[in-house]
């Protein structure tokens, strides 16, 4: 029996009545269908109530970005050829500008890419190139997957043939659309080719579970029309079922042999669809049978990097919307403008089966709406009279109204974002709602399209100062509000549910000018109130109990709002609208003053009296422990030498400089700072930043501050008031106040009253407490201007938890526990890394407890459970012991590798070779000796020790570090100096000499930090240092003039490491004919010369052009600035830290970066 012709099918369709619903939207799921429909002009000849919608019908179009990134990277590898179906070659991905964005572009750069038309060609290719690995990058639906399976089931395949499988099943995409509830179509013609393999039955669920007419259709115009006729008939009969309109090729069960073959080699997996996300059971992966040929397993590094790209789309590309049938090609903003076949942006414009490409080649241009004009492709505005609100009717739209949903990620909670959204929506006359969901903000708004556009732009452009929003998702949703209701208020909904891992912790923020003005305004109810805040300022991290950030989950929950505060909290036009840390004298936290705590005391619970008493005590030269944002400060009049001396004595802190808080004076608040210190722009900016750190500033000659603040130094740590309480204290006293963290030496900052009174005891004369609990103690951050930037020395309040983005996604969550001194910890998961505040030195029990608490805090707040712990190589570090006792899998990262990786990671340098100088005070090297003067060449995960210093002994181990004169003596002896090189009694020197000669308890090291110690002790009497880096700081201060560098000899050791011989330098430092200030300058200049020499040698042998300087030694401003200038003069690019300290606080970050980079090369344990 002859099949009906297309004309006959058309007549049969036309003979059928219009369905009661008024129209029938029919989706196809096959690029072949769409091409036939378009090129045969079927839309033009069909009745206008039939709308034909192109759906997810092109495997190239849904191939995820990550696979393309990987294929591009593979094609550029030396021994790899990438073979792929023709269309794939041109599909662009969103690579950084300098990198190739498609296989085609990679080929232009020398990448080996061979387009193939069939799997058989790949086999030929592999045989022709036995010396190369041929990777078959195979994207396809089931129709293509079957022949791929056939190829790989052969037993005669050459070993060099590998498979990068990007195969997808079609039905899950339709299931995904149907699950949405508003699929956007009323009937489906199912793909005939797929059904020949998988069987027609696969599609039955569309009819039976979702009630949509369904027919499997072939590919000629006649066969498509047969399928359309079948679904129209079903719709008219109101009996949705599965028709097989392609019985010539398709059976109910499909090709069982092909299915069995596929099943033996491939397994069904969840899979990523470009721009759509992960769909369950929608793809194929290689089973263990094929493991040896699975490119994903062969090149784990490449895929690790590529998976980090997951979800990235070229900006503006709407291919995903086109693929899902939500918009038609011309509705994409890029269609025909940025995106054309010759310069495609998205795959739909590339692939022969992509809807955009098909429509474009049929002549549809942006001005037109659809290939046929008449059958409009924009979502149909059906005339109201024609609409049947029956079961298949689409969700109705209010005329002229649209509705959209946005999901914003990034820093959007605890920063006044929801109130901002509400104000913005009101301004633009939009209805809708906003809510916190997980760590994100979800906004739904309805209104005029142009207003919605403006709204979206403003959401990002006008976001509150503290917010860092990122648009995670945008979608069109049904406009459910009819016009008369279209202007209801835009509401803030309560937070929904518990947070996921995507949350961002808001940071503690200094009082804003508006709140400060209220504190100063005698008419305002906040007048004189030390805890005045709004949605733009106040404590955040330090008071958060858990997330999402709402008052009930902060330590302010103990302070129910009074009616007036409540009114402001509820008023969308108030700065305190939904601001969580607000309060007033009626309802908020209160001050208490306690004096003479030790011997019978006086307690003032009236807040105003308490404040006045504290001010009087300070004015009187007494020491007051003042509770602030992250903990207590010990405060004292910085102009009172007796007070300073008492504080030093009671705190057992003879030398370490005290930070000083200066009054906020003048227009920019910095007048008082300028009176005492020299202020460069970077430092001024840092002082005023939200972090409000301590900034180390060079003192003016006429600084007028007490020498006892920073004995022996010409620099002082300055900070500005940040809590209203600080402003009140400093305004009343109008003089500099010492503001040093209140702790017992070596222990963490104290943050609660009981602990303050118990542990500080007699150190302060009095306490100024408040009753707002500090849940997460955090020190002030510290910065120092070095080489044009205020670089962090200590990560603290207002900048931590500090977040960095990783270049690719981690397969499992990591916890990095850092080093021993300047301890920090890092939590890393997905592509996020979060660095804790400074914890302190892990020798003290309380610091160890704080360390454990910090880990608990981060994992709990972010809801992340680490699976692998990274630790230093030093077994004696508390952090290492903790890691090894944690019961979790552990991995060791050598100290200086971590330093180098932290610097490269901060700058995103994971691939390019870098020479990193890691100069610090000692850390355990991978060879089991103590390092600290190393030049490491390579990249994270792969370092080679290029240069170092000749090793020397540390007599007495840690004792040599506490007492630099020992090192001065032994380095002097080693340099051939005799006689009294350094201090010490004859007996001490004899004992030292004996111990040194026998190498008794004298581990070898190569640390520059220790050379600083020795140098300082050779120049100034220095029996014992009371804090680490004291010797180096004195030496830096001592230096005057540029200094004359010595040329130190270098020679290669048996391992090929270039070793600097420091002995001439030690001899020079001992030369008493030169002034100590000159010798100190010479010392710095000589180290710069060493850097140049070692860098030059590395360039000669490896061509490296980029250098990094890290490790605690580079906290030295003189050395670092001279080094940067000299190395840049030599033509190097020099990297310094910008967001991380160069000292051991960065070790935890470096541990993550190092592990991230090398993970793929090391087996899992």
């Amino acid at each position: 029996m002859a099949l009906p012709t297309p004309g006959e099918w058309l007549d049969r369709i036309r003979a059928l009545p219009r369905p009661a619903s008024g129209r029938l939207r029919i989706m196809n799921v096959c690029g072949g269908h769409e091409r036939t429909i378009t090129h045969a002009g079927l839309r033009k000849v069909l009745p206008d109530y039939l709308e034909l919608i192109p759906g997810p019908g092109c495997p190239v179009c849904v191939c995820p970005e990550e696979d393309i990134h990987a294929a591009v990277a593979l094609s550029l590898a030396d021994d790899v050829i990438v073979a792929t179906f023709g269309d794939m070659v041109r599909v662009p991905c969103n690579a950084p500008r300098r990198e190739p964005r498609s296989l085609q572009a990679a080929r232009a750069l020398g990448g080996r890419v061979v387009p193939v038309a069939s799997p058989g060609e790949v086999l030929t290719l592999a045989r022709q190139h036995p010396g190369k690995r041929v990777v078959f990058f195979a994207a396809g639906f089931e129709t293509t997957t079957a022949p791929i399976a056939a190829l790989f089931s052969r037993t005669d395949l050459p070993d060099n043939l590998l498979l990068l499988l990007s195969a997808r099943q079609t039905w899950p995409a339709i299931a995904h659309l149907l699950a949405d509830g508003a699929p956007g179509f009323d009937a489906l013609i199912a793909p005939g080719h797929v059904a020949t393999i998988m069987g027609a039955e696969q599609w039955r669920f569309v009819a039976e579970a979702h009630g949509l007419p369904t027919a499997v259709a072939g590919f000629t115009p006649g066969l498509i029309l047969a399928g359309l006729h079948a679904v129209l008939q079903q719709a008219l009969d109101r009996t949705p079922r599965l028709d097989n309109a392609y019985p010539q090729c398709v059976t109910a069960a499909g090709n069982r042999r092909a299915q069995a073959l596929m099943g033996s080699l491939f397994e069904v997996t969840d899979a990523e669809w470009r721009g759509i996300g992960t769909l369950p059971d929608s793809g194929y992966g290689c089973t263990a049978t094929l493991a040896e040929r699975d490119a994903r397993r062969h090149f784990p590094e490449v895929f690790e990097a590529a998976y980090a790209r997951r979800g990235e789309m070229p900006p503006g590309c709407d291919c995903a919307e086109v693929v899902l049938g939500r918009i038609r090609p011309p509705q994409c903003r890029l269609y025909g403008s940025a995106c054309r076949p010759e310069s495609p942006v998205g795959p739909c414009m590339v692939s022969e089966e992509g809807a955009c490409r098909i429509w474009w080649s049929h002549g549809v241009r942006p001005s037109q709406e659809a290939p046929a004009g008449r059958n409009a492709a924009t979502p149909v505005d059906a005339a109201p009279g024609e609409t049947d609100p029956g079961e298949t009717a689409p969700v109705e739209k209010a005329p002229g109204q649209e509705a959209r949903r946005w999901v914003l990620a990034g820093v959007v909670q605890g920063v006044g974002f929801r109130p901002f959204v509400q104000r913005l929506a009101s301004r633009l006359d939009l209805a809708g709602q906003v809510r916190n969901s997980g760590g994100k903000v979800v906004i739904e708004a309805q209104g005029r399209a142009d207003r919605l556009d403006a709204f979206e732009r403003a959401l990002l452009a006008e976001a509150p100062r503290l917010a860092r929003p990122r648009l995670a998702r945008r979608e069109t949703i049904p406009a459910t509000l009819s016009p008369p209701d279209a202007a209801p208020p835009f509401v803030i909904q309560p937070s929904d549910g518990e947070p996921g891992g995507a949350i961002h912790l808001p940071l503690d923020t200094p009082v804003c000018p508006a709140c400060l003005a209220e504190v100063h305004d005698p008419q305002d109810r906040h007048h004189g109130y030390p805890f005045t805040h709004c949605d733009q300022c106040g404590p955040r991290y330090s008071v958060i109990e858990r997330l999402p950030y709402d008052r009930t989950r902060t330590s302010l929950k103990a302070f129910p709002l009074c009616p007036e505060c409540r009114r402001e909290y509820d008023d969308p036009h108030s700065r305190r609208f939904h601001a969580q840390s607000i309060g007033c004298p009626q309802c908020g936290p209160r001050l208490t003053f306690v004096e003479g705590f030790v011997e019978g005391n006086r307690t003032l619970t009236d807040p105003e009296e308490a404040l006045a008493a504290a001010i009087a005590a300070l004015a009187d030269g007494r020491i007051v422990a003042v509770k602030g944002v992250g903990g207590y400060h010990l405060m004292a009049d910085a102009g009172n030498p007796a007070a300073l001396a008492t504080l030093r004595e009671r705190k057992h802190r003879p030398h370490k400089p005290f930070a000083v808080m200066l009054p906020w004076q003048g227009e920019d608040g910095l007048d008082a700072v300028r009176r005492h210190a020299r202020l460069e722009p970077a430092a001024a900016e840092a002082l005023l930043a939200d972090e409000r750190p301590v900034v180390l500033l060079p003192l003016r000659a006429d600084h007028g501050l007490e020498a006892g603040l920073a004995p022996g130094l010409d620099e002082v740590g300055v900070l500005l008031p940040y809590a209203p309480l600080h402003h009140l204290l400093l305004e009343a006293l109008a003089r500099p106040l010492v503001a040093t963290s209140a702790n017992v030496a070596g222990e963490p900052i104290i943050a609660d009253r009981a602990m303050a009174e118990q542990r500080l005891g007699r150190v302060p004369d009095a306490f100024l407490h408040h009753d707002r609990p500090i849940l997460h103690p955090v020190d002030d951050g510290v910065r120092r201007p070095i080489a044009g930037r205020a670089r962090p020395l200590r990560p603290g309040r207002g900048s931590t938890p500090l977040e960095l983005e990783l270049p690719w996604r981690l397969p499992r969550a990591l916890l990095a526990v850092g080093a021993q001194q300047k301890s920090t910890v890092c939590l890393a998961w997905d592509s996020r890394l979060v660095l804790s505040p400074h914890i302190g030195e892990l020798s003290a029990l309380r610091t160890q407890q704080a360390f454990a608490r910090q880990i608990e805090t981060l994992t709990r707040l972010y809801g992340v459970r680490p699976e692998l712990v990274l630790h230093d190589a030093h077994r004696g570090y508390h952090s290492t012991r903790w890691a090894r006792d944690s019961g979790l899998a552990c991995r060791e990262v050598a100290h200086h590798h971590a330093h180098a990786a932290a610097l490269c990671g901060e700058h995103g340098r994971f691939r390019e070779p870098t020479l990193v100088f890691t100069w610090d005070g000692t850390g355990l090297g991978p060879d089991g000796t103590l390092w600290g003067g190393e030049a490491l060449l390579g990249r994270p995960g792969r370092w080679r020790r290029h240069a170092s210093f000749a090793p020397f002994a540390l007599p007495g181990g840690e004792a040599a570090i506490r007492e630099p004169w020992r090192l001065a003596a032994t380095l002097g002896w080693q340099s051939g100096l005799e006689g009294p090189v350094a201090e010490g009694t004859d007996e001490e020197l004899a004992l030292l000499r004996a111990a040194w000669e026998r190498r008794l308890n004298a581990p070898a090291c190569s640390a520059v930090g220790r050379l600083f110690d020795a140098a300082a002790a050779l120049l100034v009497p220095m029996p014992r240092v009371s804090h680490e880096a004291q010797a180096a700081m004195w030496l830096e201060t001592l230096a005057e003039g540029d200094g004359q560098p010595l040329e130190l000899p270098h020679r290669r050791d048996p391992a090929g490491v270039l070793r600097c011989d420091w002995r001439p330098l030690i001899r020079h430092l001992h030369d008493a004919r030169l002034a100590p200030s000159r010798r100190a300058a010479d010392f710095h200049a000589t180290l710069v010369r060493v850097l140049r020499r070692q860098a030059g040698a590395a360039r000669d042998t490896s061509g490296v052009e980029t250098l990094g300087l890290t490790g605690g030694v580079f906290q030295n401003r003189r050395l670092t600035e001279a080094a940067v200038a000299a190395l840049e003069e030599d033509g190097f690019t020099v990297l310094l830290h910008e967001r991380l300290p160069c000292n051991d606080a960065a070790i935890s970050v470096g541990q993550v970066m190092e592990c991230l980079a090398r993970r793929s090369r090391h087996e899992e344990e």
């Binding site: 017992v744 100290h895 008794l1000 090291c1005």
Partner: protein, 342 residues
């Protein structure tokens, strides 16, 4: 002075061959100095008399004694061999009765040195009122044993039912030490390295029997230990492990000689980890601590006794609190301590 029987002045391998030379050596050196009714038959085993009363139980211990150098200020390997074993018995509450002695002699050891060592050993045994009742002698080739070492076993008796051990330890109990810490470790180290300076530094090697005996009658006595290898810190770590309680030590109370401290400072050692050979660490119920201290301080050997800390239920570490309340954790001894300062 009696010359030893052998015709050579050093130990030779022939002294270990079981023949005439060996016989002469044993008679001349060991039996002559240590002889008693049980040892003198030189049988393969000693036959010991029964203890007449049923109120005592036997306590048995064994110890290997090596030290370099063999002689040091305040002692030598001979006295150390007796004190080590006697003290192990004493801190268990026992009265030492009998020792056995295995001597491992290196080829080339001057017999004059052996003579002095055994004389010292005999003197120490007499002072402790113990008898060496069995023994053995081996000679090892040159280079294998640093001159000489001893294997010593000891048997003692103690009143039945004496409950000493970590099980009785309670939070709040006091930690006492019987005298200055670290003397032995520093004296030996200085002698070994031939620094040529010793000043008043001498080993504390001695029997602790008087110290342990005086506390045995106190119901509040929980635990005693002689802090040998690893020092006080290591003993207390064992207590922490066994009890789950922490120990908080008060630094100003720790008895450490100035000379020991200054040498330790110079060489980067911590006296709390250095060995003592004549001290006792005792843990005593809080309310009997003063009495225990009084009893110790009444003995010549216990004049330097101090109460140094307490069992602390608030943590499970070994914590050292300094004079101004600063805290430092004392870790378990590392194999190879390396500086942690960066």
């Amino acid at each position: 002075m009696t010359q030893p029987g052998p015709d050579t002045a050093t130990v030779t391998l022939a002294h270990g061959n079981g023949g005439r030379l060996m016989r002469q050596l044993i008679d001349a050196v060991f039996v002559r100095q240590l002889g008693n009714p049980w040892l003198s038959p030189l049988a393969d085993a000693a036959v010991l008399p029964p203890f007449p009363d049923g109120d005592h139980e036997l306590v048995f211990t064994s110890d290997g004694v090596t030290v370099q150098p063999l002689f040091f200020a305040g002692g030598d390997i001979g006295s150390l061999a007796v004190h080590g074993t006697v003290n192990d018995l004493a801190v268990c509450g026992a009265t030492p009765r009998y020792l056995s002695l295995n001597a491992f002699l290196e080829e080339g050891l001057p017999l004059e040195e052996l003579e002095r060592i055994v004389a010292s050993l005999a003197e120490a045994a007499r002072a402790c009122d113990v008898q060496v009742v069995a023994g053995d002698t081996k000679v090892l080739p040159r280079g294998l044993c640093g001159g000489l070492y001893f294997g010593v076993s000891g048997i003692g008796t103690r009143p039945a039912g004496l409950a000493l051990g970590t099980r009785g330890i309670r939070a709040g109990d006091a930690v006492l030490v019987s005298g200055p810490l670290g003397d032995h470790g520093i004296a030996v180290m200085l002698a070994r390295e031939e620094f040529g300076l010793s000043g008043d530094l001498a080993s504390d090697s001695a029997s602790v029997l008087p110290l342990t005996r005086t506390l045995l009658t106190m119901p509040g006595l929980r635990f005693m230990r002689d802090p040998t290898r690893g020092g006080l810190a290591t003993v207390l770590h064992e207590v922490i492990q066994a009890t789950g309680l922490g120990v908080t030590l008060e630094e100003p109370r720790l008895p450490i000689r100035g000379s020991v401290r200054s040498v330790c400072d110079m060489l980067g050692y911590d006296p709390l980890y250095l060995a003592c050979e004549g001290r006792v660490v005792a843990i005593v119920a809080e309310d009997e601590a003063d009495e225990a201290l009084r009893r110790w301080q009444a003995l010549p050997q216990g004049r330097g006794a101090r109460r140094v800390g307490a069992l602390d239920p608030h943590h499970d570490r070994l914590l050292l609190v300094n004079e101004w309340g600063g805290e430092r954790l004392l870790q378990e001894l590392e194999d190879d301590p390396l500086p942690r300062i960066c």
